[in-house]
């Protein structure tokens, strides 16, 4: 940061506004083609889901014993993606980490849409989706209530809470920014931003309550983010199944979630930075820090893989050992090795500072991480079910075209929503960037009085 502090051309508040609000100008036709393409894929996926609801789960590849596979993999993958947003927006906020300011809004937006995408999969996975409300406690004539001892009910509570808190956190952060956008906008946008800004005028009284509410929301979101993926991991770890029944699942899943989530932030931000021309806001310094988080979590995930393997060998449990033998060398062994290559080996390149600031290389590595983390969930979920206690039951699973298209549709849904947000709402927090400038000016005054 020393280089930035020495830079006498510190941007002004106006420069920040100009850079961010420029992104929100009316997009060109290419943007609409992209959004249209995304939502066409969503439409195809929705049509296939309707067909599945009509015909039943027979249209999927789900067969005994593999009754959890692509859909649940997608669910865990998207919940995991969601985690980096809260890490960057809440945890790094509490630590007052300076580099988060330019990237946190994008990460938080990603969180909201990733949880919204993840939340669809338990519904898609249901054979009788119209009974989904059975997961919720409601008064009924037969006194039947959800089983609160079941991890699936914990999951329903955890994911719903996470979705609500993420949405509130994002909305709170947006208020001062949309008030600013309101002042510059005309026509329907002015009405839209005025409604979202809630009549905000930035008085000391408003800031006093706002700052406290935001701080406390960050404080509440921090343990929440750790709990949500722990609860998701317990969907598996609470079962008796070899390959699932493991005490390291909670920290292992949380590290994996942050790993994949930060990689997804990089995957989205690198092209976004170029297409929206926000190179002055998202600098290689930001990406360097994001890359360090990816590297650290990659090492934790690699350590977890090693621990899992060691414990399997050390336990002497023959059934567990067979499950892991199948995982490494069975018919789906290639997936395990793809996962190891993508999650453990390729991220080691990030030890090089030059690669961390080479955005093309970083983007490619982040895509490998995304692929690797999807395979990790598939290997754990479907792989463990396919090789269970009883060898006579062992069977391979192949995803059907319905499952594959719905998976592709989920990516399109996520990217489509993110693209809409990025063009119509401030994708970079103007307020926090301005606060950063104040800090920069102060640093200039202190360390470089002549330059200041």
């Amino acid at each position: 940061m020393a280089a930035a502090v020495q830079d006498t051309s510190t941007p002004t508040f106006r420069d920040v506004d100009r850079s961010v609000l420029r992104v929100m100008e009316m997009p060109g036709p290419l943007y609409w083609v992209w959004v249209g393409f995304c939502f066409t894929l969503v439409g195809i996926a929705a049509a296939l889901w309707i067909r599945q609801i009509y015909s039943g789960l027979g249209v999927t590849g789900l067969r005994q014993p593999v009754m959890w596979a692509t859909y649940i993999t997608d669910f865990v993958f998207w919940v995991g993606i969601a985690h980096s947003g809260t890490l960057i927006s809440a945890i790094l906020f509490l630590f007052r980490t300076r580099w988060r300011t330019a990237v946190y809004r994008a990460a938080e937006t990603m969180t909201l849409f990733a949880v919204a995408t993840a939340g669809l999969f338990p519904l898609i996975h249901l054979g009788r989706v119209w009974n989904a409300y059975w997961l919720l406690p409601y008064p009924n004539e037969r006194f039947l209530q959800p089983n609160f001892r079941s991890p699936l009910v914990w999951d329903a509570f955890a994911v719903s809470t996470y979705l609500t808190i993420s949405a509130l956190f994002l909305f709170m952060g947006l208020i001062p920014d949309v008030a600013n956008a309101r002042e510059q906008a005309t026509g329907w946008r002015k009405t839209f931003y005025s409604i979202l800004a809630l009549g905000w005028s930035g008085t000391d009284e408003q800031w006093r309550h706002y700052s406290m509410a935001y701080l406390l929301l960050a404080g509440l979101a921090t343990p929440l983010v750790l709990s949500v993926h722990s609860v998701v991991s317990w969907d598996f770890a609470m079962a008796q199944l070899p390959g699932w029944h493991s005490t390291i699942f909670a920290p292992y899943f949380v590290a994996g979630a942050i790993f994949s989530g930060v990689a997804m932030v990089i995957t989205l931000l690198v092209p976004m930075r170029k297409w929206l021309h926000i190179e002055d806001l998202l600098t290689p310094w930001h990406f360097d820090n994001l890359a360090k988080v990816v590297l650290l979590t990659s090492l934790i995930v690699s350590y977890s893989y090693a621990t899992e393997t060691f414990m399997t060998w050390y336990s002497g449990d023959k059934i567990e050992q067979m499950t892991f033998h199948m995982r490494y060398f069975g018919p789906w062994g290639w997936m395990f090795w793809v996962m190891v290559a993508c999650n453990c080996v390729i991220p080691l390149l990030l030890f090089s500072p030059r690669i961390r600031v080479n955005l093309t290389a970083l983007w490619i590595i982040s895509i490998f991480v995304n692929i690797g983390m999807w395979f990790e969930r598939f290997v754990i979920i479907a792989g463990s079910l396919a090789a269970n206690f009883n060898p006579s039951q062992w069977a391979l699973y192949r995803p059907s075209i319905t499952e594959l298209m719905i998976t592709i549709g989920s990516f399109a849904w996520f990217l489509g929503l993110f693209s809409l947000f990025a063009r119509f709402l401030p994708i970079v927090s103007m307020t926090e960037l301005k606060e950063g400038i104040t800090w920069l000016r102060k640093a200039l005054r202190r360390d470089y009085p002549k330059a200041a």
Partner: protein, 170 residues
């Protein structure tokens, strides 16, 4: 306040703005309202208001969440009190997870609701003295005072480096 006026000073810098607020404390009976595009500790300290009561709302919301979760988990377990798998009817360890989640949920919702309540938003009318620049790049100090004190207020605003001073009917 008979013959009251509102004088708004515009500042380029939060430090000058905070300095001005400190000086305005010498004007008896003047009501000071500050506008700023960013949350500023300097301004907050200069204004000297107590810490926001949002904390109490969040604490209450969190406790209410825990109590609701206890009522929900224990109540519904007793409603259909069939022992399954030898587990106790009231199984505290799994119920703690629901308590935690509802504590966060209720606490978070309380944070937002209490912010709306205390900050008096949504507001259908923007605060008097507000200028669009106060959402962009400038800090504003709006002082409501008697006509007789307006000269003193204006001189403090000038002394503190206000770029522009506007007088409005209060």
């Amino acid at each position: 306040m008979s013959g009251a006026v509102q004088i708004v000073g515009r500042f380029a810098d939060e430090y000058a703005c905070a300095d001005c607020i400190e000086k305005l404390k010498s004007v008896r009976g003047a009501a000071v309202k500050v506008f700023s595009p960013i949350p500023s500790h300097h301004i907050e300290h200069a204004v000297g208001k107590p810490r926001s009561p949002v904390r109490a709302f969040v604490l209450t919301g969190g406790i209410l969440g825990i109590v609701t979760a206890i009522a929900l988990t224990v109540g519904t377990s007793w409603e259909w009190n069939l022992v399954v798998g030898g587990k106790p009817i009231v199984s505290w360890p799994p119920f703690i997870i629901i308590m935690f989640e509802l504590m966060v949920l209720f606490g978070g919702i309380s944070a937002v609701l209490s912010f709306l309540l205390n900050a008096r938003v949504p507001a259908f009318e923007i605060e008097t003295g507000y200028s669009s620049r106060f959402s962009e790049d400038r800090f504003g100090v709006a002082v409501r005072c008697d006509e007789a004190q307006s000269g003193q207020v204006e001189s403090i605003l000038n002394e503190s480096g206000a770029e522009e001073i506007v007088r409005e009917a209060a």
